[in-house]
Each structure stands twice: as C-alpha cells, then as structure tokens.
C-alpha cells in the first residue's frame, strides 16, 4: 500500500469514501463487512479481493461495470483519467443521464462534466469533446436569436395548463391491481378470514367476508415532439407536462426532434424559469427535421424496458410529420404497444377544420392508437378528461 503508516482499515475507509464520491450507496455496514472479508482472505490475492469487494459493494449494473476502474484507480493509481471521469459524473442519478444531454446542458454543468478531459497533459482525441463544445456554443446563440419558451407564454396560460394537467393526472390515477385486499363489498370470498370468523358458529360459513382488487396508480410516459412544426404548441405542452410530473403520479417525460432526450429531471426542477431555460437549450441543440420513428426506436431500445409496464399509458404529442419512412414508425409503434397498456396520440392539427390524418406517418400510426385527439388549445386538452377516464 502506498501510504506508509496508514492501517488497512484507514485505507479501506478511504476506498469507501472514494466509492461514495462516485455515487455508490455504501455505509459503515458495508465497510465492516468488507473489512471482515479482507481479513479472512489471503492478503496477497488481489484478484480474489477485487472480486469479493465487487460483489459486496456494487448494487446495479452501472456500478458493476465501473467498479474495476475505480478499484484500480484507488489501489494502484492507474487509470486515473477514467476514474476521474466517473467521479465527475456525480451522484447516481446523474450518471445515467443520456450522452446527448452533454451537448445541450447549461454551461456550468457542462464544464463540470468536461473537467477530466480539460486536465493539462491528459491525452486528447479519445472522445468527441471539441466538436461537442462547438455545438454547444452554436446552440446557445441559436437560443438567443430565437425567442425562448418562457417569453411566449403568459403566466395565466401556464397556470391554466398546470391546473389542467393536475386534473388529468387525477383522472388517470388508478388502475385495478391484481393483488387482493379485504373489503366489505369485494367480489370474491376471502376463505381464510371467513373460516376464522365463523368458527364460533360451528364452522358454518354464516357470515361471508370478502376481498377485492384494489386500484393501483398508473404509470405515465410522455413523448413530446418539439420540432419546428410543433413549436407553436409545445410551449403549452411543456407546462402541461410540468403539471403532470409535479404531482404524485409516476411519470416519465421525453422530448424528441431528431433525437430523444429524457427530461423528467429537468421538469422536476422547482424553479420554473430555470427549468424552462434548460429545456429550451436542450431543444435548440437538435438539428432540423423530425424523426418520430427514430426517436421511438431510441425510446424502445433504451428506456422502454425500465419505464413501461402493464399499467403504463403512453401519451404522444406530435403532428405526425415524420421524415422517417412510415413503415418504420408502424413497426416501432407495434413494439411500443407490446409493452404499454394504452397509446394516446394528441395531434394539434386535428383541431383544424377539415383536417384528416393523411400524412403518411399518421396514417401508418392510426391502427396502434387507442385515443386520438386534438390538443391545439387548452380547452381541447380539457376535453380530453372524459376520454382518458374511459381508457
């Protein structure tokens, strides 16, 4: 060990602190267990120590994969650059942030993430940071040149949208569970409790006790199109999403354009202006055109497994003008539908007189949609309440 005088216990607690800085949830209990494990084993067998600590101290796949680099960095001082990068990722939730964010994050967070590469003497060229930085500057200028989202929305509109979202959230709140709980007017007889209760009557089931299936909260996944053609509407929807996410409902939100970005964390930001700023930066970072199918594919590949279950309702907000081939959209929607319970598609164009869903992508998507509605104004969003309650 490199520090003379420091006992193994001190070195190990140093290692624990090192792991904690990298987002591992390890506490004194783990330290004690790890120390006992090391004391029991052969002190010269580094491979065994590494394997054992890895098993004891990691808790999910990301930690499992980062552990070896962190271990080497602490005990052998090698691979420091890689470990530093891991360290700069910050606490656990942020480590999972999609890479695409880095191109669109506010400057201060960006600087933090870029730190390891900026170290003097660190060899460059191993990732695309210079290009990314250039893009960030460009997107910030773009954001200044065009009006940002907050100036386009009056405070009353935002408040109305958020109130409305709250109402919708309440409508969507519950679905039937498959667990059963005791209930006075349940649909099935609870034999265990019935027999217990009727023992005093000689075991004759005089009084029947019942159980029922309680309701469980649904899980919402929101996909919002923020391409140029939707720009006019997306500002309402963003407030709407904030309202949905702000409550107790389990919800995940994504925006797409030519790529897909997970925005739940941004929308949960308590300060509304700051949230809007971060969001508009992220939105401006994209190129032109809309790739609905591509974004859906990214969602299906990366997030669907974790965020969809049989109680999920997917709400898609888009005008259906897709630059990807419509067959691709149909295929991705089919994949999506296999995981989710319902698909709601809100299309602002539906509110226009004489509009029919003839855009090729929209026509291809129709078979997979459970509820297709206009959402061009706050009133039309409010009209959704009844529709969604029936889903």
């Amino acid at each position: 060990m490199s520090t003379p005088g420091a006992g193994p216990a001190a070195r190990l607690s140093g290692f624990m602190a090192h792991l904690r800085r990298n987002g591992f949830a390890v506490g004194p209990g783990e330290t004690e267990a790890a120390l006992a494990f090391l004391a029991a084993g052969d002190p010269t067998d580094v491979a065994a120590a590494r394997l054992g600590l890895k098993t004891m101290l990691t808790g999910d796949r990301g930690q499992w994969q980062r552990f070896d680099a962190l271990f080497d960095a602490y005990w052998f001082g090698s691979g420091v650059r890689a470990a530093l990068r891991a360290e700069a990722q910050g606490p656990r939730q942020e480590a999972r942030r999609p890479e695409i964010w880095n191109k669109a994050l506010p400057a201060e967070e960006r600087a933090e993430a870029a730190e390891p590469a900026a170290l003097p003497g660190a060899p460059s060229g191993e990732d695309a940071l210079p290009a990314g930085t250039g893009r960030l500057v460009a997107s910030r200028q773009e954001a200044l040149a065009r009006a940002d989202l907050r100036n386009l929305v009056s405070p009353e509109d935002i408040a109305a949208a958020e109130r409305l979202a709250e109402r919708l959230a309440r409508v969507l709140r519950y679905r039937l569970s498959r667990r059963r709980l005791p209930a006075r007017r349940g649909d099935t007889v609870d034999l265990r409790r019935t027999i217990r209760r009727n023992l005093g009557k000689g075991g004759e089931p005089v009084e029947l006790l019942r159980k029922h299936r309680p309701e469980r909260p649904v899980n919402l996944v929101l996909l919002l199109d923020v391409s140029g053609s939707m720009r006019l509407y997306s500002r309402y929807f963003v407030s709407f999403l904030r309202g949905l996410l702000g409550g107790w409902l389990h919800a995940d939100a994504f925006v797409f354009h030519t790529g897909l970005v997970h925005i739940s964390d941004v929308l949960r930001e308590r300060d509304r202006l700051r949230a809007m700023d971060r969001l508009s930066l992220m939105v401006e970072g994209f190129g032109g055109g809309t790739r609905i199918a591509g974004a859906l594919k990214a969602f299906n590949d990366r997030y669907a497994r974790a965020s969809l279950n049989s109680r999920s309702i997917v709400i898609m907000m888009s005008d259906g003008y897709d630059t990807d081939p419509p067959e691709l959209l149909a295929a991705e929607l089919a994949r999506l539908k296999r995981r989710a319970r319902r698909l709601v598609w809100l299309n602002p164009l539906l509110g226009w007189r004489g509009y029919a869903p003839v855009a090729r992508a929209m026509a291809a998507a129709m078979p997979y949609i459970d509820c297709f509605a206009a959402a061009h104004s706050l009133e039309s969003l409010a009209a959704l309440e009844g529709e969604l309650a029936r889903l």
Binding site: A25, A33, F37, A40, G41, D42, A47, A48, L51, G52, K54, T55, M56, T58, G59, D60, R61, Q63, W64, Q65, S177, R178, R179, R180, L191, R192, I195, L199, G200, G202, G203, R305, A306, N309, S310, A331, R335
Partner: protein, 293 residues
C-alpha cells in the same frame, strides 16, 4: 473463514455449469456470509441455472419461488387447507366436540399448506431458495420479502412464530423490467451476468453435450456469437444455443455450411419472435455461415 471460490467453481463445473470468477466469488460469498445474492442480466444468460447448479454442487434441495404481478404473502408463505378444514368441522360436530377443541384441531400443522418461503426456512438442511424474476412482483412484495430475508421467521397467528430451522442460501434474479428498491439492493450481494464469450460458451456447450464434434461446436458458438451482434428483439441465450445444437445433431448436420435448408429451418430454436425470424432471412444466415466456416 476463507472464501474458496475456486473450489466452488470446480464443484459447479462438475454439475455442468461453467461459472467465471466473478460469479463463483459472488456465490462463495453468498454461501459464506449467508447473504442473499441478486443476479441481474439479460434473459437467457443462465441466471436460473445458477441456482440449480448451486443446489446440485452443495447437494441440497432447490426451492423455487416464481414471482409474478399480484403475488402476495398468502401465495408465498402459507395457506390453510380450507376444504379439509370445512370437512373436519363437519365430522367433529357429529362427535359433539367443543368449538375450542375443533379450533385447536383444524389450525394445527396438519392443515397448513407450506408455500416456498415457509418451506425454505423449515428445512433441517439449508436449501437453495431461488426467487426468480423478482422484478415482476410488485413493490409491496419486495418490502415483505426484505422482512423475511432479514428475520428468517414467520408469524402465523394461529400457530405462533416459526423460527427458521436453517438459513437458506437465497438467490434472487431480475431481468430489469422494473427498477428494484435501493433497500433490497443494499441487503443483497450483487452480480451481473453477461452473455458468455466464445471460449466460455464453447466450454458450456461441450459440458452439456459431450458427444458433439469439436468442429461443429466451434461453428455453432461462433454463429451464435455473430447472431447476437445483429439487431434482434430478443438475443438468443445459452439455452437457445444448447437447443439449437441438439436440433442440429438430431437433423444430422455435420457442418453449418452444408445443408442451407436444414439450417434455416432449425433457426426457430434461436429466434423466438416473428420479427427476428424475418430479420434473419436465408441471405443473412448464409453471410454469417460464411464468416464462421
């Protein structure tokens, strides 16, 4: 107390399970520290098989609890045998016994149906308890499970508290369809299983199908490894590789570059969805065979 994972690795090998160092150490720790082991990984990398092999290597019973949505305490701990209870009430009534006596009788261990969790803690020899696909059960069940896994005792109101006869070796598996709670993760040792590399998969194939020709085995493994790199909805796991190898042997295929029609027909063993079957037409299969031959 030392954790001799090499010995366990050899023991597993003798039962036909090839475990790499990571996994062998994780299992050795789980056995040595009596802590539950959480295994994560794609479907088909051999998570469930680990528990079976561990039970065989330790020469003990395997008790399996398959999780599903809506699973509750009744289905996992115990249930009373109601039909028998009702019958017993009737017969004892005729014998003019008192209600107290009847109650004592029908709420005795004879009428108790032990479900996997209770079964696992009431064994004299510690069994391997496999809690399969924990991510399918609801959050409430997870909390309940945590309690059982830390106390190893079950309270049945009619019988009192049953202490564990022995602490089972617990293996939990998860496919990652739902994020597990941090509390559960902290309670468990953790290991992530990946698809095996070529050498390991070849070793598995040779361990499970000892009669297979070396040349064919190598071709099969290389083909499957290449197939996993294609864009598929469901990547073929180890079980699929083994099925496919058996099918090829049954079809009397000696080399993959021989009978294209038989090869194409046998791909149903590897590709389990319609979309995946369409994604690997004859030309793609021929291209992959060209690379492995």
């Amino acid at each position: 107390m030392t954790f001799d994972y090499k010995a366990l690795q050899d023991g597993l090998r003798r039962t036909g399970y090839i475990a790499d160092d990571d996994l062998a150490m994780a299992l050795a720790l789980a056995v040595g520290l009596k802590r539950p082991l959480l295994l994560e990984g794609e479907a088909g990398v051999g998570k469930t098989a680990v528990a079976k092999a561990l039970a065989a290597a330790l020469a003990t019973r395997l008790i399996r609890l398959q999780c599903y949505e809506g699973l509750d305490a009744n289905a996992t701990l115990y249930e009373w045998n109601y039909q028998r209870q009702l019958l017993a009430i009737r017969t004892h009534e005729r014998e003019q016994r008192s209600a107290d006596e009847i109650e004592r009788h029908i709420f005795s261990a004879d009428y108790l149906l032990r479900r996997p969790l209770l079964e696992a803690i009431s064994q004299p020899v510690p069994p391997v308890l496999l809690i399969d696909e924990i991510d399918r059960a609801d959050e409430e069940f997870e909390a309940f499970l945590l309690e059982i896994l830390s106390d190893f005792q079950v309270t049945i109101p009619e019988l009192g508290t049953l202490q564990a006869q022995s602490i089972p070796y617990v293996v939990l598996t998860s496919n990652g369809t739902r994020e597990l709670s941090d509390a559960l993760r902290r309670r468990c040792l953790y290991s992530y299983l990946d698809f095996p590399d070529e050498a390991k998969e070849l070793a598995i194939l040779r361990a499970r199908l000892p009669g297979i020709e070396q040349h064919l085995a190598e071709q099969i493994v290389r083909f499957v490894q290449l197939l996993r790199r294609e864009e598929l909805e469901k990547k073929p796991g180890i079980a699929e590789t083994l099925d496919w190898a058996s099918a090829l042997i049954g079809l009397d295929v000696r080399a993959l570059d021989g009978d294209a029609a038989a090869l194409q027909a046998s791909l149903v063993c590897l590709l389990k969805t319609e979309a995946d079957l369409k994604a690997v037409p004859r030309e793609v299969a021929a291209r992959l065979v060209g690379k492995v031959a």
